[in-house]
Symmetry: C2
């Protein structure tokens, strides 16, 4: 919003009152017989209800504003920033609308697609900004329909900057934000939560501060659910504004926009765009240190923390909205110092949930995509139903194909040169591949001194939970059991356990031991002999790239490998080993050898041929030890296999 | 079949071959994506498939034949016999068709309703006999449609005894069993499994043994799935018959009908009806002891055991069909000596499953009806969907009303006089009611020397599992916590545990501690104060007859209190405490005070008024201790409550 201007029009006020709490009872009726235990009430509530609930509970919260990136690479970076900053627990993020950047298009960098990614792939409650001036009604309706289709539920309705010097009102056009608010309510009823902008100093183009307040009231009465303000430099500016709003009957939440000063130039530019004046006491500090970025940032953090404290202490403010300028450090620092950043947010489920409304009942997924949740979401985006309670219940077996393999948010975060350093400029044998896997597990540098921090199947370093298995994993990878997924068995740890816990407190979580790896046909032959001894205890699926499939799973039924028992709830079993979807995963897992690794090398090069050989000849194996209360027997299975081979 | 005669007609043989194995693949395809884990494959298979699977696995099995009773009281007895003999694990039972007893009617004693009860309320795979002679096509179709509607899946197609001396074939009528077989296949396609009768000595009315064999072949080729034979006295009779059948191309299963001789007169009558001749060697033994029932029965058991052994040892026989004459002792004895009676059959689920096809996915029920499963089945008989996986998923909240309260299979097995002896000829105070509850728990005789073996809420003595809680239950019942349902907490016992185990072997079962009781408002007031201390650990529902309801359950969600983890399966959670259905149970539980207890006494009598007072003023309470790995805290809750009262 920072650099978007806005003005309220003279439209008549609607009879619709603030909807802030109007549908609370509807939601709780839904929940009373809903098919999924409401593990995380947040997943079922609208943003305005979440806001209300937090306020009633006396919880303080924050939100984060981002603008869309200019390049595809910047988009990949922004998405990992969403993941990192999402871990701190924002109530929502918002994505600004850049009319110059084709904001409603399918481009990787458009406002629409960035917001889509935040909701669907990062699981963040998201507000999409939308401006209306100089746009046709049809264009606007089209954007809103698309947003709805993508699962976006919140719109920040703005006027936007008029293009050209001389701006004139269009008859029957969208001249003011209030026109957009009314349009949303007329065309989409109560579907969207609508946010509007407030100007603590009055809008620069408004006739007066008082006139601007009246415009704001019109926007609220036209159907806006809450207000986010333009940035300001003194807490008293906001507090006065809030009292003035209340005095004229604006009762919806008003969220102060906080701008931590992060640098001399960005501040100057912002001030110019927003036509705000920087108070003299701030100028006095900044001017002398204007070439010292670190010093300015430290000062900006100090200033923001002190202002936020004052706002929160006033008792009138429950949430803070941060203008991040797409940067992490300053905002994160302010939030940590305020105690609003949640270092270890509770996981509602073992995997990252998506925020798309149609996925809100989803509480079961196959374990195979544990390290590639975005790929799973992408490949199931066309599903109409999502499984809840049982995998077999409503899951469509049709996974999206792999044709859009280079979809930007499935790309590796590391550039080619870095991957070559990690995975080997030149491979000489299958053993040199074993070494790469081993280095990834141990965290030790490879023979060229580089740490292997990602693999084609795992874009991030080893999970904390997997660390529990590190020693054994190292041993088996060295010998050609190339592990790509595993979990230890857990026999009833508290749901609050920092490593393996998830779900509401007071519960207990369980796991069956799981091990998934690529290995040679020679090892598979021995493994199958060994598995006979473990027939009643270990379930296995062994498949090669051609789809030759060996399993002892009864009737192709899924096997629950993670589950939790909670007070007053039905059982939740969020992770299953499903024989049917394993065959879809198999295609993806084998393709990653070629798409992500082999293609780093020249065609016909020995390195590429080694990877191609593995792709063509190795098997993908998964093993489940069903006897979760006993010591994990899968290491013994592997040990027995190696012994048989010797 | 024993006293039904039958003759095969001359109908042309159909092109349909023996369907014994034709739909095996269809069934396993169903299972591969079915929504309920196939805990018990039996529930999903047709009878002919079960038979085939048992034969392939080399398992031996037995089945039991009963005839419909003459009176309602006899029906109640027969149904408890179904429950007791069902515990021995018959592959199926069959119910004969008594044309004289209005066999297709809704009377409690009709063949149709008895078969319905066996399937739906006792969970037994059941074959309903049906005869066709002297009946119109419409009558027969009507009977078959009704059978299908009630969930019956198997028909034994018979001619039946012609009425009157001179029987003539009707043109276009049903003259022979083969006509009925064809009619079933024409009108109902493959819906029913069809059984026909075979006569090892040839049918008494047949032209010759060979002609009778040809008639049998016609019945099989018209669509019968298997054959049950008339009784016979020598094993070689059956073995010769079987070889002769095979020789002319009959390949479906042929099950020998075994008749353990149980008394002199029943044997004579049977022989007369079936026109069989008793071999001289048997007559020689029986005639001298004809007045000694016990001796004849012992001899009958010996004879049957020795004949069955010879049949099984031949390798040609896998199943044995017993003509029980509605008696238990002789047949059970034979089965036990043969090792076919399974003393402790595996429970597929903690509660007795129903055999109606539409209930085959059912795997969740509220705990409230644990001691009244027939009532639960009755009250949910109109449901189209049954919950599987999760209670909230597909369960209809509409329970049938209690208007048919005296439905015969919900009646107490004990007559009024017995109930009065157990529950008191005269009650003098609420405490005398406490005593009845306490005696039921302890098994000690009451002050008049009678043991209390049932209660209005429990028609059977205390469950073995509840015995684990006996001491504590006694203590609290003495003081007016009148318990009607409870289970201990279980933290991962093997699924094969003889007391609490269920489901396939290799699994682990779990429970949360549960306690349900009636108690006075005074105790409830104290209890509520105590429960504050246990707020995060104990879920409670407290309701009186007027429906005043106090609970701390979040969002009216069900709480899983029994669940199991099995190799290669999703989690099963067969028992839940469901706040919504608790209110339907509440009506039933309170009504039982009046219907079963108060009405034993004269109107206005002090005894009746005491029960009425309890009904009007007590509360029904249920408590769940969510912390299943710890020691059950519910006894401490009750202890604290009594302490607070003192």
């Amino acid at each position: 919003m920072v650099n978007e201007t806005q003005q309220t029009g003279s439209g008549s006020s609607s009879s619709r009152s603030d909807g802030g709490s109007s549908s609370g009872s509807e939601s709780s009726k839904d929940n009373s017989r809903c098919s999924t235990p409401v593990l995380d009430a947040d997943r079922h509530e609208r943003l305005r209800e979440k806001m209300r609930r937090r306020q009633e509970a006396g919880d303080r919260w924050f939100s984060l504003e981002f603008f869309p990136p200019r390049t595809a690479n910047a988009a990949v970076n922004l998405i990992s920033r969403f993941d990192r900053m999402g871990a701190g627990g924002p109530l929502f993020i918002d994505v600004t609308w850049h009319p110059a950047g084709d904001p409603g298009s399918d481009k990787e960098t458009s406002s629409m697609i960035i917001a889509n990614t935040a909701v669907n792939y990062c699981g963040l409650e998201t507000i999409l900004h939308m401006t209306c001036c100089n746009q046709s009604k049809d264009d606007i309706t089209g954007h809103l329909q698309k947003a709805k289709r993508l699962g976006l539920k919140n719109i920040m309705a703005l006027r936007g900057d008029p293009s050209g010097e001389e701006w004139e009102e269009e008859v029957d056009g969208f001249n003011y934000a209030v026109d957009l608010v009314k349009h949303i309510r007329n065309e989409f009823d109560d579907y969207f939560d609508v946010c509007v902008a407030g100007y603590p100093k009055g809008h620069p183009e408004a006739e007066s501060y008082e006139a601007d307040l009246r415009h704001l009231k019109e926007k609220v009465f036209a159907g806006a659910d809450f207000i986010i303000t333009q940035l300001f430099f003194r807490p008293e500016t906001f507090l006065k504004f809030m009292k003035d709003c209340q005095a004229i009957g604006i009762t919806c939440p008003i969220i102060p926009g906080i701008f931590p000063i992060q640098g001399y130039h960005s501040l100057r530019q912002l001030v110019k765009l927003s036509k705000l004046e920087v108070p003299q006491e701030i100028k006095d500090v900044i001017e002398p240190i204007k070439d010292n970025d670190a010093a300015i940032r430290n000062y900006g953090v100090e200033l923001a923390v002190s202002m936020c404290r004052e706002l929160l202490d006033s008792g009138m403010v429950h949430g803070l909205h941060f203008y991040t300028l797409n940067r992490e450090v300053a905002t994160t620092e302010v939030l940590k110092r305020l105690g609003l950043w949640k270092e270890d947010p509770r996981r509602p489920l073992p995997w990252a949930v998506s925020a798309h409304p149609k996925r809100r009942v989803e509480d079961v997924r196959p374990i195979f995509w544990a390290s590639r949740p975005k790929s799973y979401i992408y490949r199931t985006q066309e599903w109409d139903d999502f499984p809840n309670g049982r995998w077999g219940n409503s899951s469509s077996p049709a996974f999206g194909e792999l044709k859009d393999y280079y979809l930007f948010y499935l790309k590796s975060k590391s550039p080619r040169e870095e991957l070559l350093k990690m995975w080997g400029e030149e491979l000489t044998s299958e053993e040199s591949v074993f070494e790469v896997f081993t280095c990834y597990i141990t965290g030790e540098p490879n023979r060229n001194g580089y740490k292997v921090t990602c693999m084609p199947w795992n874009d991030d370093p080893l999970a904390t939970e997997t660390n529990l298995l590190k020693e054994q994993l190292e041993k088996v990878n060295r010998r050609g059991i190339l592990t790509i997924n595993s979990q230890p068995n857990i026999n009833g740890k508290p749901s609050t356990d920092p490593i393996v816990g998830w779900g509401p407190s007071g519960g207990y979580v369980f796991q069956k031991a799981y091990l998934e790896f690529f290995t040679s046909s020679e090892i598979v032959t021995a493994l199958l002999k060994v598995l006979k001894k473990y027939e009643l205890r270990v379930n296995y699926h062994i498949v090669n790239v051609k789809g030759q499939n060996i399993t002892n799973a009864p009737d192709l039924q899924p096997n629950a490998v993670t589950w939790g028992i909670f007070p007053g709830r039905e059982i939740i079993q969020p992770t299953v080993v499903d024989p049917v979807s394993f065959l879809s995963w198999k295609d993806e897992a084998f393709a990653l050898w070629i798409e992500q690794w082999a293609k780093l090398y020249e065609e016909e090069s020995p390195s590429r041929m080694i990877i191609q050989y593995i792709h063509d000849n190795y098997y993908l194996v998964n093993l489940v030890d069903n006897d979760f209360p006993l010591e994990n027997c899968l290491w013994q299975v592997v040990e027995d296999t190696f012994e048989l081979l010797n």
